[in-house]
């Protein structure tokens, strides 16, 4: 292994030692390297300091009354109903009305149909009773039939 490769390996293990569990072999390797290299010790200290600085100064807090601002928006949502729910509700309401009107229309159509049917049957029976043999068979045929008889 070349010097450059060894350095890279040590640096990788050094960075990884902060965020991952090292194997016993890796721990020994790193401890040995830190003991013998001033530069590596300096780098280790720098990483420690940098991580501390980021953790202490990297975050922050919201401006005062943050929760009040959130609750203001929450209350606005609570007051105005959900648009999607509103849409489906109106759709269901509309469907009920359409179904009701459709049902009534079907009943009316059936009623008309039956009334008309009854009228036609009645008319037909009346018409049949009033019909003579001449109407059914034709006058010429009826007279010739009478003659034969």
């Amino acid at each position: 292994m070349t010097r450059k490769k060894i350095d890279k390996k040590i640096t990788d293990i050094l960075y990884r030692s902060f965020d991952d569990e090292l194997t016993a072999k890796e721990q020994e390797f790193l401890a040995n390297a830190l003991e013998h290299s001033e530069e590596l010790r300096r780098e280790h200290q720098q990483i420690v300091a940098m991580r501390r600085m980021i953790s202490e100064k990297g975050g922050g807090r919201f401006e005062p009354f943050f929760s009040a601002r959130v609750m203001q928006r929450v209350n606005a949502i609570r007051k105005s109903p959900d648009r999607a729910a509103e849409f489906f509700e109106s759709l269901a309401y509309m469907f009920k009305r359409v179904a009701l009107v459709g049902g009534i229309a079907v009943i009316i159509l059936f009623s008309i149909h039956f009334i008309q049917k009854e009228d036609n049957t009645h008319l037909a029976s009346e018409t049949v009773s009033e019909m003579t043999l001449d109407d059914v068979l034709g006058s010429a045929f009826a007279s010739s039939l009478e003659e034969i008889l």
């Binding site: 965020d19 300091a49 940098m50 600085m53 807090r61 919201f62 959130v70 609750m71 929450v74 949502i77």
Partner: protein, 214 residues
């Protein structure tokens, strides 16, 4: 009318004002409640319980959002939006993850969206800066410089690297938790962390000399 201090002491004594006692009792009661209890009450429409949850997790969400975006007006908007999304999904939250982790996931995703939006905005309007600093007045001047410096260092990272640094170093999640929140392998978290730290070192190292000894 001038009231001396004793007047207020008397006024806030238990038993003097039943309405006030009731309010104080309710407030204390909510503080003592667990997340699950507050969630159940919030689901039933108790706004005060939801407010208690916001107060409980405000600091955690702020750390994530400000870590990602810096101290700017958008950070406050993203923070609010995080809780609004949570409010809308109250009935869907089954508690598979801890509430803090769930909120952090929302905050990270919204922050990543905001970074994308910023990038588009900078493309159309090159003058606009990455993060306008609105630091709270309570900070000391030397702290303000340090905070700006840290945010500058984080700000130069790509959004994916930034998310790893914020979750691991600022929020204090473990490598495994960071991987779970971002839905990436642990190995990727480790490699991104190492590369991000090397990059940030170039900006921060000149200012770490005196700090490294403690």
């Amino acid at each position: 009318m001038n009231y001396n201090c004793n007047f207020y002491v008397e006024l806030f004594k238990p038993g003097i004002n039943p309405d006030l006692d009731c309010l104080i009792f309710k407030g204390k009661n909510r503080i003592n409640k667990t997340d699950e209890q507050l969630l159940n009450l919030a689901r039933k429409g108790d706004a005060e319980s939801f407010s208690a949850l916001v107060k409980r997790y405000e600091t955690q969400v702020a750390a994530t959002v400000i870590g990602m975006l810096g101290h700017c007006a958008e950070a406050d908007d993203v923070g609010q939006e995080t809780f609004i999304r949570f409010y809308k999904a109250l009935h869907d939250f089954r508690g598979e993850a801890a509430l803090g982790t769930y909120l952090t996931r929302i905050a990270i995703n919204l922050s990543l969206n905001e970074i994308k939006r910023r990038r588009r905005r900078t493309w159309f309007f090159p003058e606009s800066t990455d993060a306008v600093h609105h630091l709270p007045d309570e900070n000391k001047p030397e702290d303000i410089e340090m905070i700006k410096l840290v945010h500058k260092a984080i700000g130069q990272l790509d959004s994916d690297f930034r998310a790893v640094v914020v979750l691991r170093l600022i929020d204090g999640y473990s490598t495994r938790e960071t991987a779970e929140i971002l839905k990436i392998p642990e190995g990727t978290v480790l490699s991104r962390l190492a590369r991000a730290q090397k990059k940030m070192q170039t900006i921060l190292s000149p200012f770490m000399g005196e700090k490294s000894d403690d």
